[in-house]
């Protein structure tokens, strides 16, 4: 205890008058940890997360109470980066995530965490001979600040967990949304679907160039049928991809330009003059094939002369 007092003095001068209260709260949390944990185990948050065994809920409550005591001892009541929270961050995140999975909104989780304050405050008041005396009030205020910080920590943990999830899913979307298809010998195509932003166009470019090397492609078709809108930025991305494919020795064809998009491109004054375009993927493939000397026509009925010169030159 001696040590923690000296630490907290060095941490903050402002909290000088709050300090005894913080220390008292810390001591209280340590002393009454078991009782608090038992009460918390009956609170909505713990009860609904640990449905299987109450012992588990009590155990979690004990850990949280211990962490709070450590934070109070350090005097950093309103600091969500206080080292004491690190120990329980993982657990709180799991609890918040499991609540979120059951369909409760963040608001509800925050309310449930807030509900943990009252049982603890009640126990704290009971510690004093005069529950309404200045000393008791000061301690309750300190505990309230601490519980508010806990609430923030829970929310912050939950938010960062869902941010991670979003980032992972975005990455998966990038991978899924850019398949490079081999249409013919030396001909590859990328059907682009969805909005083309810088990050995605980068992925498209990389996978297309890799495919050009792997398939030894001479023709690369970028099909934008699935791209909802084309603005100057998207056009710029397309032109970059076309230029990069050309540097690799492949000719690039942009296909699937819908009439409305053609109008938009013209109205925006975007010059796609350097880019070879075709109306549909079929037209683009027909162009690539004819450039390679491959012709496709109806198969001659059996018995008649074979369609000469239709094959590879």
């Amino acid at each position: 205890m001696q040590v923690s007092v000296s630490v907290s003095v060095s941490v903050s001068e402002e909290n000088a008058e709050q300090e005894p209260a913080a220390q008292q709260v810390s001591a209280f949390l340590e002393r009454r940890r078991e009782q608090i944990a038992q009460r918390w185990a009956d609170a909505a948050l713990f009860r609904t997360v640990f449905t299987v065994s109450r012992d588990e809920a009590v155990e979690a409550g004990r850990a949280v109470a211990a962490a709070l005591a450590a934070v109070a001892a350090s005097g950093r009541l309103d600091d969500i980066r206080a080292s004491g929270f690190e120990a329980v961050r993982d657990q709180l995140g799991r609890m918040a995530a499991s609540r979120a999975r059951t369909g409760i909104d963040p608001d509800g989780v925050a309310r449930e965490v807030a509900a943990l304050r009252e049982p603890a405050a009640e126990l704290l008041r009971a510690e004093f001979e005069d529950p309404n005396g200045p000393e008791a009030l000061e301690c309750v205020v300190a505990l309230t600040v601490l519980m508010g910080t806990l609430r923030l920590v829970v929310m912050e943990t939950a938010v960062s967990a869902s941010e991670e999830l979003i980032a992972r899913q975005r990455e998966q979307l990038h991978e899924v949304a850019t398949p490079v298809i081999k249409l013919w010998e030396s001909t590859v195509a990328v059907p682009l679907i969805g909005t083309l932003d810088s990050a995605r166009s980068q992925v498209v470019m990389e996978s297309l160039l890799d495919a050009i090397v792997a398939e030894r492609a001479r023709y690369a078709i970028l099909d934008i049928t699935g791209v909802p809108t084309v603005d100057s930025l998207v056009a710029q991305h397309l032109m970059k991809t076309v230029a990069a494919a050309r540097l690799m020795g492949a000719e690039c064809i942009v296909s699937g330009i819908r009439p409305a998009i053609a109008q938009t491109i013209v109205h925006l004054g975007i010059d796609l003059g350097t880019v070879l375009t075709r109306g549909s993927l079929a037209d683009a493939l027909a162009y690539a094939l004819s450039r390679q000397g491959v012709g496709i026509g109806p198969v001659a009925p059996a018995g008649t002369a074979p369609a000469a010169d239709a094959g590879v030159r």
Binding site: Q202, M205, E206, L209, D210, I212, V213, R216, A217, R218, K240, T241, A243, A244, A245, R246, L247, M248, G249, A250, R291
Partner: protein, 136 residues
Amino acid sequence: MTGAAGIGPAGGHFTVPVLQLGDVLLVTLQGELHDGMAEQLQQDITDRISHTRVTGVVIDISGVEIVDSFLGRVLAEIAAGAGLLAARTVLAGMRPAVAITLVELGLTLPGLRTALDVERAMELLGAASRPGEGSP
């Protein structure tokens, strides 16, 4: 020819080997190209084109990891010089990462023909020089 010590203004540097295959010159760039080497190379290529009956130049950059604006300019100058002597230049074997970097830098090397590798480049030059089949 490979690895011969520099003879020109490049001093201690190595010169870039220029091989002749039929009527095509093959230049293989590797690693970094210094100022002196670039100058020497441009001179070598134009000399060889004017003294022989070369109709095409293939520059293989599959061994080059970084193409900056300097190398981009040198390549464009080689192509322009060769073009004046009626030889066509094909850039072959660019790596995907290099292509992306160049495009991001805005260097799309508009005057240069490109091919996936040396074989394709030879094919391109051969097909174009055959009578009756115009270049694309």
